[in-house]
Symmetry: C4
Subunit: 194 residues, 4 copies
């Protein structure tokens, strides 16, 4: 069972999600700089979600790069991940239009919490499919980022009801954690060559 | 005639259909949890259609995996299948906005009935193109799921006019039937190797 | 210069054009069968444009299948073709909403006339790029369909101002001409093998 | 680390950006030729942005064609480029609806200035990843187009506040500069073969 179509399909869905999100940035009717001001929170929520989706695409790319085998359950785990990511444009638009109000901020975290869980399930199924002592297993290692992120989301969701901006900051922190280059997979690949 | 572009094009269309469906989940104007309540039926119809499209993508992936040859009529049978699937966002939005009312529920079933027939035609043409005793022919076998699904749709459509929720349950049943792992193609591939 | 990315990009654009066209089929607000009636012309124009785009995808697929080399001008000729095809959702929506009125029907033909010319340019550049006595040159042959179609469009455009339905019928005729299986390229491939 | 998925993902995003831009061309409600008149500036801004995106796709295609290695930072530099390109439909719609007024024209230039900078960063990272004396380094050479374009954008942005049409002309000039065939990469490839 080849992984090419899985990669192509996931790339397609993530590419469309990213581009569809931009449709929430509605073209204003005036022509002055002032007409852009109300768009600023929508723009900021777009930037944050763009970075998140970029991280997912990047990690997905790296994870599948060291995989050989793809099984039926992996296909469904992947569709499950894409389901939660497909809701990102909705929560991004909602959080942006309401200037990061309580409920939208909590729902934003919830969708990313579910996506993180779905990613973890996909990762476990892929590790199982590769057999013992696979490249992927060694590359994932202790996976502290994968464990810390859902914990931070789980904190951010209830916090959103009290101090939405604190919860927003937690989302930014999670993104920053992932933006720090992660050389695990590249390192394992180099080791495997030598 | 290579099958790669057929797969890539189908992946693209299905990926876009899935993502465009989410546009029916319109961002609400309020910021409270209550503003999400009217979206619940739209969300449920999105989930159901997402699962259906996932099943189609999965089956399409498996079916083409065991094919070698693709003919001119196969290209058109594939476009015919994608035509009916392209109407899914429309019927999903309609059924969701009208809380699974009679006519929308019947049309929902009709579009999936036509997609099931289109899939069957594509499958027959692919089997014919592979020549006698092909892997695909053995993998498809008696195809009880492929025969039961259109029968259930054909029942669900008239039933929708009387008890829309019964017809909706039938759509859920069809989805569940397909979600049960189907190891036919994977089994045939293993047998072919040994 | 590989042709893979050219194919992938064209597949992507055509897949999105087809799917975006369906957004013109706006979900009606009522739940009765009657609310679908005003959508019938929009639906019919969607079917016609879908068939046209299917023909373009199919022909594009066949044409590039027998090509080895792709040059810089070919990339631009392909973008030129995709430009005219990208206007199809616009003219399809316009012609559908106005029940095939005069001006929309003429513009519909104009966009397809320009697409046909763009396709012809792309074909000439591809033939030139393959060198003398290429498979593609032999496959294209006299290209009577490629010559008849623009002629029919050129007739249909002025006719649209007098009898829009005649011009619509001409568009249907062009589609039917192309739907008749065209075995030129498959035949040349078989000949080349023997 | 393969470059295929990077290419496929970029193709997907650019294909969707191009096609989504056309959604700003809203289907008019009347059926006469006159109803198209207000769409002319929107159409012209669409044509200009289409040409720009075509240039980006073309250059991206050529640049990656001579690359072997892709690194983690390259993936992010590519996402950064796609981020600015994803804002093109927004500025295209704004500039078109406001008939190339001052602020929208300046913002249009700003987005393309940022895209040009992002492209330059991506190019530098790719050159660094290929090692010394790579094909790409020789192909890029003095890169006068890559240096002139941001300079012209930097002039066009303040000019937009005084004479928007001058700044628009500068954008057209930049597009024309890139449309002139650039045989650097093709030449280097030929040299490398001999």
């Amino acid at each position: 069972m080849g992984k090419n179509r899985l990669e192509a399909f996931s790339d397609g869905v993530i590419a469309i999600i990213i581009t569809i999100m931009v449709l929430e940035l509605k073209v204003p009717h005036g022509e002055g700089l002032g007409t852009l001001v109300p768009l600023i929170p929508v723009f900021l929520s777009y930037v944050l979600s763009y970075v998140y989706l970029g991280i997912y695409w990047n990690n997905h790319h790296h994870m599948l790069h060291v995989c050989r085998k793809v099984t039926g359950p992996v296909l469904w785990a992947n569709l499950h991940l894409l389901f939660w990511l497909s809701l990102v444009p909705f929560v991004t638009g909602w959080v942006g239009e309401n200037h990061f109000a309580a409920v939208p901020s909590a729902l934003y975290g919830f969708v990313f919490l579910m996506a993180a869980i779905a990613y973890w399930i996909l990762q476990q199924l892929l590790i199982a499919a590769q057999g013992p002592d696979s490249l992927l297993k060694r590359a994932v290692g202790s996976d502290w980022k994968g464990k810390l992120s859902p914990a931070l989301y789980a904190v951010a969701i209830p916090v959103a009801f009290l101090w939405p901006w604190v919860s927003l900051s937690l989302y930014v922190v999670v993104a920053l954690i992932w933006l720090i280059p992660d050389r695990r997979i590249e390192k394992v690949l180099r080791d495997a060559e030598t």
